[in-house]
């Protein structure tokens, strides 16, 4: 798998500088945490990196191909875990996952089966038939995570994936993120959570849209056992 390259990327929206010009590379097999205070541009960085937004200047590319497709839709290799979860209210927990798989060509029965598997991985296997409105915030967040994991994406972009989780589930989710990285995916997580930052292989920091820190692999003792 290739790397995710942001080259000279700058983002200006409505006259406001959201991201200062920056160049950063995210590598396969790494869990990268993106930190920074609120409004520092973490979400915008993920949106640009995932091809949801076109940078005002610069380029984003994955494995040499541009991520921006012109319509704001991400490439099939990209999976998002959004801060607002991005679940579809008219679908059940299972269906929110299976539709992502169906969209990638999986037969319906197989998609449902894989969805159940992923729900079980995030410890909500018994909530498959629940409607989104019937889930708590933490449960919705886990469904969003399960959806991203289910598609086996090469690029996993997660925005505050642990904000609603308790300590146990947070740690479990971090281990799942590491599993994604371990299978070779590029995993980028924007988070305030110190536990997430501490568990990441790499940490970059933003402040007012500017890349101010890029910490290479953290202490070996904190790495996931899969490494």
């Amino acid at each position: 798998m290739g790397s995710l390259d942001l080259t000279g990327v700058e983002l200006v929206i409505g006259g406001q500088q959201i991201l200062e010009q920056m160049t950063v590379q995210f590598r396969a097999g790494e869990l990268t945490a993106v930190g920074g205070p609120s409004g520092s541009g973490k979400t915008s960085l993920l949106s640009v990196a995932g091809g949801l937004l076109q940078p005002t200047h610069g380029e984003t590319a994955y494995a040499g191909k541009p991520l921006w497709q012109g319509d704001g839709d991400p490439r099939p290799e990209v999976a998002f875990i959004l801060q607002v979860y991005g679940l579809v209210p008219i679908l059940s927990a299972r269906e929110n996952i299976s539709i992502a798989l169906r969209a990638r060509g999986l037969p319906p029965a197989e998609a449902d089966e894989r969805a159940d598997t992923e729900l079980a991985r995030v410890h909500i296997g018994d909530l498959g038939d629940r409607q989104v409105e019937e889930l708590s915030g933490g449960q919705m967040q886990r469904v969003a995570c399960a959806r991203a994991f289910a598609v086996g994406a090469e690029l996993v972009l997660a925005d505050e994936p642990t904000s609603e989780l308790d300590e146990l589930n947070r740690d479990h989710l971090i281990s799942l993120l590491h599993s994604e990285a371990a299978r070779g995916a590029i995993v980028v997580v924007a988070s305030h959570d110190p536990a997430v930052v501490a568990a990441a292989d790499r940490h970059i920091a933003l402040d007012e849209g500017e890349l101010i820190d890029d910490v290479e692999p953290v202490a070996a003792g904190r790495r996931h056992s899969g490494w």
Binding site: T43, D73, Q131, V151
Partner: protein, 786 residues
């Protein structure tokens, strides 16, 4: 408490609430005002009142729920209890109040225009307490729902108020109860309407179109949800994502499907109204044709005999003119009778009644064909001639004696003839010849004596009822009557003119002889029938099996043109009669006039003419002096149109227009209300790889499903409504003909309306969400987070 910025932010819902309020109030004001101005029952506006209240209540609830965040903010700022409730209700109540005021003004203006245009000459509209009360009811009903929903919203936990996700609103107990009440109400109203009939229509009947419509709307909602749920299993085999999404949306999002509830209800009311309007056009045409009795009708004031004589005089061949006479039952019963010149029916009016209930009369006419008809006379004298020799023998000697010193002649009326006949003015007349019975008939010819007297009222035609005689013939001798002529018609020999010798009585003996008629009379003081018509049993065709006949000695009776009871023999049945309608008896005029007296009051007589009658024939008819006012079918239609009898259908048309407008605003508003969530949904789907085409396809499929549901359910409901309700709603006043509105649903109209409504619903849904998929990039979800 009312922030204009906040109102502007919710301008869509506020505008919808205002618009629906204006339409509901204005529509009710127009409906009530029009009904008062045209003497149609005010209760007829109840259907629109119910639709308006339901629409207003639904939109009011939406408006309150849209203010959850504002209410939560007020709560965070320390407002509680009544203060918080006041925050919740103030804005929607102000909008409702403004809408009601605007609606009253607009409704008043529209009512004035509508009444002046369609309510008949000179009818005006003035606002009354009825309109004010109706507007107040709409306002209060809307306010009550707003207050109730506001109170429930304020009672929600703060977290629920602030929850940005759409939480499924399980139908509240009140909503479920309302749905059940509507269904039950629809069933009861239809049943009760059928039982009570239009003459006793009550509030339940008046509400029935709206109840049926709302019930149909609810059934449509449930059907779509149920069918979608059942069809969800098919998506395990079907890879089409658009269909996958559509079924789930229709099953799980009540507001997606609920958009069609009011649309179906309004279409059902409109369908009944449109069918009523079409039926009323037919009703007017049929009523006019039955009212006139023929394409052109001339009133004849002098009665059926005059009409008969005039039509035969002006049209001897029977190609163009036909006489009709209709007699009421003097006791107000069902023995009303119409007499027609049956030999002329087919040629003169055979095609006039095509398509009307009277059309079937043609099959019964042959059975009524007369064996013999009335013989009419035209002239100005009555003469009777006797043999002088017989008079000499039979004339009694007058006795004279002195009583109390005065000479007095007493006793005998030697011979007097009394002729009873019907004049050319339709009056009964009695002619006595000679005036003084003791006058010996003078010589009129060698060997013959006789009397001649003027017969007034026969110059243009008359008919003899009977001839009587009184007198005394001496010593059993007989007077020999050699000639008796009335107005040019010979009465002897008996039977020549249709009059036959009466049965011999003790006081009168009449024997036909070679020279004439030998009369022997022994009663100086009373007349005895000499010549009379045989009182035939009239062949008659009944109308409707329910006609109740009086019987005399087991023989059914009818009142003839003169009001006298005549025996009849029923030969068949007909669906309806000209001039009478659905209840009455049909007979031949010429037969009924034999021996009949003058026309009774309340009877109508006329001469009807074919539409292509030559002008000369009509001139000849007018020249008889018998006919008066001329009426054509077109004039009759115009008269009915101007009159109050068919205003009910116009009122329902007005109700339908306002109902459809309210439903259209409600539909557009509810779909616009969903746009924000649809955009979020589309973005969420796109971020996981579902293509724009699939998302857009799901919206198209939804539009098609909803449109189809409207077409099917509304079409069926309109059909049921027409069959069940059309002929019991006060749409037309049946009048003397008892003609009811044809309740047969017009397939073309019903299908067209249902299809048009379904297409409109599908179009609104399609256009509302047409660009949602394309204009909702996944990045907007991140914008929400920011």
């Amino acid at each position: 408490m009312v922030s204009f910025r906040a109102v502007r932010a919710r301008s869509g819902q506020s505008l919808a609430l205002f618009a629906i309020g204006v339409l509901a109030v204005a529509g009710c004001v127009v409906a009530v005002g029009f009904s008062r101005a045209t003497n149609v029952s005010v209760g007829s506006a109840a259907a629109l009142l119910l639709l308006g209240i339901v629409a207003l209540a639904a939109q009011g609830a939406v408006s309150v729920r849209a203010r959850r965040f504002e209410i939560a903010l007020a709560q965070l700022r320390g407002r509680h209890g009544l203060g918080l409730l006041r925050t919740a209700v103030t804005e929607p109540l102000v909008i409702l109040l403004a809408a009601a005021a605007t609606g009253v003004v607009l409704g008043g203006v529209l009512a004035r225009v509508v009444v002046s245009r369609w309510a008949g000459d000179g009818t005006t509209f003035q606002m009354s307490r009825y309109e004010w009360v109706t507007a107040a009811v709409v306002l209060l009903a809307g306010a009550l729902v707003v207050a109730t929903v506001s109170w429930r919203t304020t009672c929600l936990p703060l977290s629920a108020k602030l929850d940005s996700l759409h939480r499924p609103r399980h139908a509240s107990a009140a909503a479920l109860l309302f749905s059940l009440l509507v269904l039950i109400g629809a069933g009861v109203s239809v049943y009760q309407a059928r039982q009570l009939g239009v003459r006793r229509a009550d509030w339940v009947s008046f509400l029935s179109p709206a109840l049926l419509g709302l019930a149909a709307g609810q059934i449509a909602v449930w059907t779509v949800a149920l069918v979608s749920r059942l069809a969800m299993g098919s998506t395990r085999l079907n890879r089409r994502l658009g269909w996958f999404l559509t079924l789930r949306r229709l099953t799980r999002r009540a507001d997606s499907v609920a958009t069609i509830r009011l649309a179906v209800a309004a279409v059902v009311v409109a369908g009944i109204a449109v069918s009523a309007w079409a039926g009323s056009q037919t009703w007017r045409d049929q009523t006019a044709r039955m009212q006139t009795g023929g394409p052109v009708a001339f009133a004849v004031a002098a009665g059926g005999l005059r009409a008969y004589i005039a039509s035969h005089e002006a049209d001897p061949s029977g190609e163009w003119l036909m006489a009709i006479s209709a007699s009421p039952d003097p006791f107000g019963g069902s023995r009303r009778a119409v007499f027609v010149d049956t030999p002329r029916w087919d040629r003169v009016v055979g095609s006039h009644f095509e398509g009307t209930p009277v059309a079937s009369v043609g099959s019964e006419i042959d059975a009524l064909s007369p064996a013999e008809t009335v013989q009419t006379a035209q002239g100005d004298t009555f003469s009777v001639t006797l043999s002088a020799e017989s008079v000499d023998r039979a004339w009694p000697t007058r006795k004279v004696q002195r009583i109390e010193g005065r000479l007095t002649s007493y006793g005998f009326a030697p011979l007097q003839f009394t002729v009873r006949y019907v004049t050319d003015e339709g009056d009964n007349y009695t002619l006595q010849v000679p005036d003084d019975p003791g006058t010996r008939p003078p010589l009129v010819a060698p060997g013959y004596v006789g009397h001649t007297a003027a017969a007034p009222g026969c110059a243009r035609g008359c008919a003899v009822q009977s001839v009587s005689v009184q007198g005394v013939s001496r010593n059993g001798q007989s007077f020999r009557v050699t000639e008796m002529t009335f107005a040019g018609m010979a009465l002897l020999p008996a039977g020549t003119s249709g009059l036959s010798l009466s049965e011999t009585s003790r006081a009168l003996r009449a024997v036909a002889s070679r020279g004439g008629l030998d009369l022997s009379v022994t009663d100086a003081y009373s007349s005895h029938l000499l010549l009379e018509w045989e009182r035939d049993v009239l062949p008659a065709a009944l109308v409707a099996p329910g006609v109740r006949l009086e019987r005399s000695r087991g023989v059914p009776q009818v009142y003839g043109p003169d009001g006298d009871a005549r025996p009849i023999q029923v030969t068949g049945q007909a669906a309806a009669l000209p001039l009478l309608g659905r209840v009455g008896i049909l007979l031949d005029l010429g037969t009924a006039l034999r021996g009949a007296g003058g026309q009774i009051s309340g009877a109508q007589a006329r001469v009807v003419a074919r539409a292509d009658t030559p002008a000369q024939v009509l001139d000849d008819l007018r020249g008889t002096g018998a006919v008066g006012r001329q009426t054509t079918v077109e004039q009759a239609v115009a008269d009915i149109q101007r009159g109050p009898r068919a205003r009910g259908s116009t009122l329902y048309a007005l109700i339908a227009v306002f109902g459809l407008l309210i439903a259209a605003v409600s539909l557009v508003s509810s779909t616009a209300e969903q746009r924000r969530e649809r955009r979020s949904e589309a973005a969420s789907l796109r971020v996981v790889g579902v293509g724009v085409g699939d998302v857009a396809g799901s919206h198209r499929a939804e539009a098609a499903v909803l449109g189809t549901a409207v077409i099917v359910v509304a079409g069926v409901a309109v059909w049921i409504g027409c069959r069940a309700l059309l002929d019991v709603l006060p749409l037309v006043v049946p009048g003397e003909f008892g003609l009811l509105l044809d309740a047969t649903p017009r397939l073309g109209l019903v299908a067209g309306l249902a299809f048009g409504a379904g297409l409109f619903v599908a179009l609104v849904v399609f256009l509302s969400f047409r660009f949602v998929a394309r204009s909702s990039p996944p990045s907007m979800l991140s914008d929400e987070a920011r």
